[in-house]
């Protein structure tokens, strides 16, 4: 006897069947999940975004908070229980306060942890008032001393007595958003020109490509140094923020434009594009509804790989004193304080923002690499 073909097909495991019918988005997601490092980095970046949005709530103090009693004080250790206090073993989240001593000759103040001085720490404590999103007035902070007058400097303080952790949270908002907004601007310019160039081809493509080549041939670093330096000194911090971001974006868009153009060029001859054309869809519809979504994973990967470049550029520019300037706080501005070796040798914790830069940049790179591999499983 003979079998009908369908009956003979062995029951494959569900995952396989699922994979055969999965959407592109699901496939990319599955591929991405396999990269542990990329997944972990993605969580880190989500944490960073939370810091960008809920800055005032996450920071223990206000960014104008200044404590002249504790300048360049070292980080404190967060403790869950207490054995060395007066009353033996005792539970409770706390840090030790400081005792300070001034060297009579160098006048430098050194701080020691003081186990006798217990600073109670709580969550959702009342602290300085602020307006969340600039709208909702509130006074709770995620973590802080129960008594707002007590010192709680988990990452230490700066030379002018500001809490490093607070500064770091505020700087994260500025530096991360420069990267993201800058890349968004570059992306807009790059995608529109790249898409037009790759889709229409011919002399339009030729013209745009020559323009891009010209811009790429111009050495970018000296130029953005020059442009940033030519900005008026008395410019307000918000204006400066946007102009610096724009300068960085103007330099970065060409690479993205090339990437998008290459994709459009390769895809123009695909059948679904031809059939969309035959259906009489408008150019704009074909480009942005049919073609762009089909390589969105690649674009997201390219974006997350260009954000770190932007962040590093802003950090370097600000550190050199040509980018953002105090009172604006960015990672680069924070690190400026660490550049005097006399300061740095006594207060190495001032380098912590640098570690944050490295971690964030690495995280964006890993996420970008992971996405690219997931979107392009055959390439690697």
């Amino acid at each position: 006897m003979t079998l009908k073909e369908t009956e003979g097909i062995p029951p494959e495991d569900d995952r396989k069947t699922e994979r055969a019918t999965a959407s592109q988005r699901q496939l990319v997601w599955w591929g991405f999940k396999k990269h542990r490092l990329a997944l972990f980095s993605a969580w880190l970046l989500i944490g960073m975004l939370v810091a960008v949005v809920f800055t005032e709530f996450l920071a223990p103090f206000d960014d104008r908070h200044r404590d002249s009693d504790y300048t360049a004080a070292p980080p404190q250790v967060l403790k869950l229980w207490d054995t060395d206090g007066g009353e033996g073993f005792q539970w409770g989240l706390h840090v030790d306060g400081y005792t300070s001593e001034q060297d009579p000759r160098s006048l430098r103040i050194t701080y020691e942890a003081d186990p006798e001085d217990r600073v109670e720490i709580g969550f959702f404590v009342k602290g300085e008032e602020y307006e969340l999103f600039g709208l909702i007035p509130w006074d709770r902070h995620l973590i802080g001393p129960e008594d707002p007058e007590d010192p709680m400097y988990l990452l230490g303080t700066t030379t002018d007595g500001k809490d490093l952790l607070t500064d770091l949270v505020y700087a994260t908002r500025v530096s991360a958003s420069v990267g993201i907004i800058g890349v968004a601007l570059a992306f807009l310019l790059g995608v529109v020109l790249g898409a037009v160039s790759g889709y229409f081809g011919g002399w339009i493509d030729n013209g745009i490509q020559r323009l891009i080549e010209l811009i790429m041939a111009v050495p970018s670093i000296p130029l953005w140094l020059g442009l940033a330096a030519a900005l008026p000194v008395d410019m307000g911090p918000v204006m400066r923020y946007f102009i610096i971001t724009t300068i960085l974006a103007l330099v970065a868009w060409t690479g993205l434009a090339r990437e998008v153009r290459g994709r459009f060029l390769a895809m123009r001859s695909e059948e679904f594009v031809t059939s969309a054309m035959l259906d009489g869809s408008s150019h704009r519809r074909i480009m942005f509804r049919h073609m762009l979504p089909s390589f969105s994973s690649h674009i997201i990967a390219a974006l997350s790989l260009s954000i770190p470049t932007m962040i590093l550029a802003e950090t370097a520019l600000s550190w050199l004193g040509l980018g953002l300037r105090p009172p604006a706080i960015s990672w680069g501005v924070q690190l400026q304080e660490a550049s005097k070796w006399s300061v740095l040798s006594g207060a190495p914790w001032l380098l912590i923002p640098g570690a944050v830069v490295v971690i964030v940049v690495l995280a964006f790179n890993f996420v970008g690499d992971g996405l690219r591999d997931a979107a392009d499983p055959y390439k690697h």
């Binding site: 006897m1 003979t2 079998l3 073909e5 003979g8 097909i9 062995p10 396989k16």
Partner: protein, 337 residues
Amino acid sequence: MSEPLLEISGLHTSFDTYDGKVGAVDGVELTVEAGKTLCVVGESGCGKSVTARSILRLVEKPGSIDSGTVTWHGGEEPFDVLSLDDKDPRLQKLRGDDIGMIFQEPAASLLPLRSIGAQLIEALRIHTGMDKKAARARAVELLGLVGIPDAERRVDAYPFQLSGGMCQRAMIAIALCAEPALLIADEPTTALDVTTQARILDLIRDLQARNHMAVMFITHDLGVVAEMADEVAVMYLGRVVERASVEEVFADPKHPYTKALLRSVPVLGRDRGRDLPTIPGTVPNPLHRPKGCSFHPRCTEAIAGRCDLDEPPEVVFDGGRTAQCVLYDDQSEGDRA
């Protein structure tokens, strides 16, 4: 009369992928006889290319040759290629000297940055020890021999300046420069247009007759098989399911897969006005090889309770041809008796 040149036995080659180990070649048995042409035929992904690469140990990570023997009879005494040390001079001699190989994408198989002459001269010098001048003269001669016009000038051409057909001729010249006893041709005409294909096939046949060379020809094209083969091996999912002479295969195919393949080729006159039959279903994923005979889900003659449970036996017919199928099981019992 037939003397074996190359014997493959129990060859298993697999690839490590994200989804697990995939057996691309799953126990292949093949023999190439001196001076004869063996055509290995099968659908894409049946393991025919991997088999060819395994012979010269060209399988690259994540692939690995797991077991089996590849015995070379062309030397002073036979040896197993797979058990040789990486640095064994016999392996070096085998590659290019005893066995020449040509590939599916001729243009990609030549280094883009060096002229075809430079690559040919390099091979000549490795295998024959000629000096530069002699090698160059010989290179021009070889290029002329494989039908490249104006060889004197073309010897300095770069691959990207030549057509696919010309590149394949150059590849053949390189493969044959040391007058090997066996030429492995891995779908050499697949990427070429039909007229070029015919010319390349003619060329290979001419050179084979001239050098008394054996050819192992990998293809999925039954037309090519009919034109080139002495012997045919039909592969399905990493196994040789039928081996026979070319006349036997076309006149009296035994394995249901071979029959189905032959049915799906249009025949002039016969097939006018009717649909060409196709093989139902698709080639299964080697990762999930069907239990029993791997062809049974697509087989029109499959026997329930047998083909989906037991591995098919290797049936040897009179005259030495074989087929892996239960349909002929009684004959094999008869043979054994």
